[in-house]
Symmetry: C2
Subunit: 456 residues, 2 copies
């Protein structure tokens, strides 16, 4: 019986701020980073390799060490566990890790301690998949409705989704699973690209990348907006010109507006025939999103990458505040909370279009979308998952996108194992890259200033 013998947590940062990849109206200089968790065991995987689990959450640079620090304290609860027992009761493991009453004060279920919990549980899910040689989408899709509901954290949701209703919802989709898996094997899961529209890119680069997206078969393109209306009008015009009238154009404001301003600004761009406005205001503002949705219809409202837990999604849906649910696989409490949100979305008939990009998010959300189609919503209609084409080279089982669709993952686990060489290069602050790079250009230099004491 394999046991978890130790945990390693790494702070890995990639210097994306150098190229303006990932730049938007709120996040101007992100260094895409991962708080990376490895669960070692004394066992062997079905393929003969040492059995281990690899998980991460995504951050944008400074503070990644804070998340790693929290992950160490949470992951320690897994050391010494029997892997088979853990895999048989992932709902119980999740409740154990979220039930530390002292740590709970720091959230609850939000911010640093929820990001770190996600990293830890993502590693546990990866391990559970590797134990039986299945990709995690398949591990979950093969569960009975009752088993899948037991995995989900339904606390605080019963007013919107009683357990029995969740089970019934899944049971109704039992038929057709095999056909839907065959469909995914044939055509994958549709995705859209954000790579074209980062705010820091020039008009020429925008035009070129939109054309490339069209040439690669994408039916959707998303632009970052919100810094200057004049710029946004010009950039939307370029994008619409290149992609033509039949493809979908989305915009993303990354929370820069107050409610009324969001309605005005979005309305000013409405002539470009927008599918959605994403993150128009504070991610905490359920009622604000509802007001914006009323104000900008028929343009849809999308949010979720900063919606910090299932209780927020419950309200976004109860209030009719969103048209698209963009859950984040590194911000929600791993698949335990993601399954709960998929169930809510199915109940409220809101399409789930997961947030991705960053580091490792694309690797994870492909599993989420495949699971949603196979076992929960049963449809790909009106759904499209984000894809950003960078940093995949650091993963041993990177996502593959062909003809604007994610290819069905087939290797065991959650696709979140990074190459040891990538970690050695980009571990902060002592990886080879960060050791070489010094001087005033280092975005994180402030952390090393000597005037703060008491660090022990």
């Amino acid at each position: 019986m394999p046991q978890i013998t130790s945990v390693e947590v790494e702070d890995v940062r990639f210097p994306t701020s150098l190229t303006a990849d990932g730049s938007d109206a709120m996040n101007k200089d992100g260094d895409y980073s991962a708080a990376y968790v490895v669960l070692r065991t004394d066992g062997t995987a079905p393929d003969g390799a040492p059995l281990a689990g690899f998980g991460l959450t995504f951050t944008t640079g400074r503070g990644n060490d804070i998340v790693a620090h929290a992950a160490r304290q949470q992951a320690v609860h897994l050391v010494g566990r029997d892997v088979e027992e853990m895999a048989a009761d992932m709902g119980g493991v999740y409740r154990d890790l979220t039930s530390d009453a002292q740590i709970r004060w720091l959230g609850p279920e939000k911010g640093v301690v929820h990001l770190s919990l996600s990293a830890v549980m993502n590693a546990a899910w990866d391990l559970a998949g590797r134990l039986v040689g299945k990709p995690v989408w398949r591990l979950l899709a093969d569960m009975t409705p009752e088993q899948l509901v037991d995995v989900a954290d339904l606390r605080y949701l019963s007013d919107a989704l009683p357990r029995e209703e969740a089970v019934a919802l899944l049971r109704a989709k039992e038929a057709g699973k095999a056909e839907r898996i065959a469909e995914l094997e044939a055509t994958g899961y549709p995705c859209y690209t954000t790579s074209a529209g980062w705010l820091g890119y020039s008009d020429e680069k925008l035009r070129r990348l939109c054309q490339e997206a069209v040439d690669e078969g994408y039916q959707h393109v998303k632009l970052k907006v919100g810094a200057s209306l004049e710029d946004d009008v010009r950039r939307c015009a370029i994008a619409r010109d290149v992609i033509g009238p039949d493809r979908a154009l989305m915009i993303d404001a990354n929370q820069v507006w107050d409610v009324d301003q969001a309605i005005e600004w979005t309305t000013a761009l409405a002539r470009f025939d927008l599918l959605w406005i994403e993150e128009p205001t504070s991610p905490d503002d359920v009622l604000g999103h509802a007001a914006i949705k009323r104000g900008v219809a028929p343009i849809g409202v999308a949010t979720g990458e900063h919606a910090h837990n299932r209780v927020m999604f419950k309200q976004f849906m109860q209030a009719g505040a969103i048209d698209f649910c963009q859950l984040d696989a590194g911000r929600l409490g791993s698949l335990n909370e993601i399954v709960a949100v998929l169930l809510l979305a199915a109940k409220f008939d809101v399409p789930v279009c997961p947030h991705a990009g960053g580091v490792g998010l694309c690797e994870m959300v492909q599993h989420v979308s495949m699971l949603d189609f196979v076992a929960v919503s049963g449809t790909r209609e009106g759904r499209v998952t984000e894809f950003v084409d960078h940093l995949h080279e650091h993963f041993t089982d990177p996502c593959v996108v062909t003809d604007a669709a994610y290819v069905l993952p087939s290797r065991p686990g959650y696709s979140t194992e990074m190459h040891p060489a990538s970690i050695a290069e980009f571990r902060f602050p002592d990886g080879a890259y960060w050791t070489r790079r010094t001087g005033p250009g280092v975005a994180t230099e402030r952390e090393r200033r000597p005037s703060v004491t008491g660090d022990r």
Copy 2:
């Protein structure tokens, strides 16, 4: 011109879990703790002492180190600043500290990075008060309406509270300030006690402490509930028996219920004539609180100690979801965000009854309630501030409660300086107390387990 020369951040933990002080249905074993920030300067206070600022946030034990770690990264932005310039633009300083786009990803404005921001800005406010020799309530009450609104963080609030309306609201309360200050000097600000009703106390202790509360002049007593309805019925009966029919009885469930259960349980206790049910469910659930409020009226709904920022309070008020606003001085982003919430509460006519207890919260909220009365709401009617009588001995300027009322603070600053001897004793893990205490009884032992690596 004095400058901030260095920052010290300490992890201080008190072993309150040994006595069940602070025990409730969610928090069974809290070790009340402070992430404590000291801003040193090269200046001298008006009283001739070295000028410094002392601030903290409260946590319940494990994870206090995570908050301290985050506070160090945020506080460094204050080093090198001119103290007078800082004090003249506290709104700008606050925006600076919340505008780190990389750190923002970890919230935004919630969880660990917001708790730590609170500690840092609390120290800055303490420093600003000491610079001019005023308690912070007075520093703020002496501001013009425009100055006070400039201090407040109104971002994301304009749909509920435009800036001009906030200014007008304050202007309407300009007359009468001096009279209200005189009233506070004469009679203080009314408070209630939670010390009687912790869940871990025996019936005999509960009865004795309720009687002591009555003898000390309290008009309100609060009990923790939510673990066992049978126990709650018995405990409410004891409390009501002791305090008689004319005093107020409140109950606090610390988030243990789902929405429907909260309505059922509270209704089952309604015969004890309850003023409010506090934290009936998830602190994120605005719509859930609104449903509970409809379901349990005329019992009021109170929440706020876990409401993580002003956007949550905006919605609680817009949705008519709460009857009492229990803001927390260590969870909101210091006085910059607290003033915004006081303004919202005045606009929506919701009485502010701050959460306190913990470590240092009573010391801070006395300033908040005094400010609210003098400059914002202009009334104490229907308001009562929490008081818990423990851990005050660790502060150099502890709050004073007489005849069930906080005495108006008169010493400069925010009352948040701790005795150096207390820090030396309870600093974790190397203070004298924690060094002496070892073995399986140490609640925090898990943090020291050797099987987690990668900590650098």
